[in-house]
Symmetry: C2
Subunit: 322 residues, 2 copies
């Protein structure tokens, strides 16, 4: 099906929700029309505050996001939410359940919530998410929340794609210890101890604070540790306040540009890697030397690493030598 991209672009720029939904579906699936749409809308993107919210299943990420939306709406901001499903058939159900909890905002025309469940897109989930953020920005959304489950590399990558990453933990889960041990602390710009009414909340917050005091930072931002009860909105205003402060820090320090540059670099790397993958696919489907090489690997005459080097030479030409 061919989509009328000019109409879609016009409708999306005017804030039409159906156009936005269609545009996100398009970029999620990828293809030449998706690329064309992103090209047309890219100049209108890059304006929103991108907030990543990540943490283990069950810590209350969706409840916190829900409460944060309420805060942002008080400031009359348009809020987009991209809930990134780790593409798992197993957790699909649970995540759908989470979405239902956000129903408080479904009638609010200035809130747009979307689950991303994108498999098969060249370059993985992250690519579609980058472009979906752009669609929201072009459509006038001031804040885009990217909610991910803290499992797997691609989800961490998405969290890192945000301007401000909120790491959500809960008391007594042992997450704090894990986070401290594994170096995950580094990705958090703001630490939230949710379910702060549970026993051990103070200890969890103290442990995180103590370990942050020992950490070294690449810039002048010191991640705050905020205890809240998202369920009752208690303390959520402080989380939102910290997010705004972090954004101001990013802008005044020049860090925003640094972060966005490394984000673009990562995206370009994935796009180029995807093109290499596509080139190889074509090469292996065409009878000839490359196809013979594949058979030799299958027959254990040539190892995959040597074969890949030769194939890369064929595909990349002299450039691979640089």
């Amino acid at each position: 099906m061919t989509i009328d991209l000019d109409t879609l672009t016009k409708d999306l720029l005017s804030g039409d929700r159906r156009a936005l939904a269609r545009a996100i579906s398009l970029v999620e699936n990828g293809g030449p029309q998706a690329t064309q749409l992103v090209k047309q809308l890219y100049p209108q993107s890059g304006r929103a505050h991108l907030i990543g919210v990540t943490g283990s299943p069950g810590v209350g990420k969706s409840t916190l996001v829900d409460a944060l939306i309420t805060q942002m709406r008080k400031a009359n901001l348009k809020v987009g939410v991209l809930a990134v499903d780790p593409s798992s058939p197993f957790t699909g159900g649970a995540i759908l359940g989470d979405r239902i909890r956000m129903q408080a905002h479904t009638l609010d025309r200035s809130v747009f919530i979307r689950s991303m469940a994108n498999r098969g897109h060249s370059g993985g989930i992250a690519m579609g998410t980058y472009d979906a953020v752009r669609m929201l920005e072009a459509s006038g959304y001031d804040v885009v929340i990217i909610e991910t489950v803290g499992v797997g590399q691609s989800e961490l990558a998405i969290a890192q794609a945000a301007d401000t990453t909120i790491l959500v933990l809960m008391p007594g889960s042992g997450d704090d210890v894990q986070a401290i041990k594994s170096g995950i602390m580094e990705i958090g710009d703001i630490f939230v101890v949710n379910k702060g009414d549970l026993p051990g909340a103070n200890k969890t917050a103290t442990d995180i604070t103590a370990s942050l005091e020992l950490a070294t930072f690449s810039n002048d931002w010191r991640p705050p540790v905020i205890t809240c009860v998202a369920e009752t909105n208690e303390g959520v205003d402080k989380v939102w306040e910290a997010a705004k402060q972090h954004r101001e820090f990013l802008q005044s320090s020049g860090e925003l540009k640094t972060r966005r540059k490394s984000k673009v670099q990562a995206e370009l790397a994935e796009l180029v890697a995807g093109m290499a993958r596509d080139n190889l696919k074509t090469a292996l489907e065409t009878p000839g030397e490359n196809q013979k090489m594949l058979s030799q690997v299958v027959d254990h005459e040539v190892d995959p690493h040597s074969a890949a080097e030769t194939l890369a030479k064929h595909l990349f030409g002299g450039a691979s030598k640089q």
Copy 2:
């Protein structure tokens, strides 16, 4: 540190466990020496029966693997286990706990259990796993079990890398419904309903069987649905029997070669994509046109897709046109 690869190769081929452990660490981390080691040992690989065991957290995958090892040891087979950590700082602890449950076999010199917790390797977790399997095969292991948590794309990819994939479910988790809905059924060669002593086990097994009757298959294998209680070994012999039958089917039908060919294709695609990523990194670190392009994307003058196309042309030369 430079490793004496010839000694390592010799020791590994003789079945030395320390050499095997070192070799797996080496290929997990990647690099020129790792590539060299794989090249040297590749002719000795490809012999083992690769069994993937996957399913949601908590269904008892590790317990089943433990019980399966007991079956395999009765047949005097050498068994390697690669437990693939989804690289999550959050679940790291839990998975470590699972490993501890396999202690029954730690004194058995014909069982080698290894957790793969590999971040940062170019091409992701899967690459290191492919090569780790090869190390186990070269070291004389007859069966290699790849245990993954059924969350995320890369873990599914690893499950698909196996010859025989066992999908583990449990009664009342709703996993069966999710599995049926999402098309995950297609990756299972054998379905195991574990914790078969829990209420609802029969219904779960019946539901899966019914949905398999409606499914279409690309070959003549009809996945069996086996109820077991891994904790007490009840029914685990039937799971192992089914795995052996599946392997026989793969060999007699020629399907084994087809599967291994598509596996090699996927691996080559990832290796080549990784090389493209590395090439791009070098190009963007070198002052010149490519670096200027990066700045233009950051400044929203050029969109990432157009930039990637231009960069790919620079990197791949004329070959990208094929």
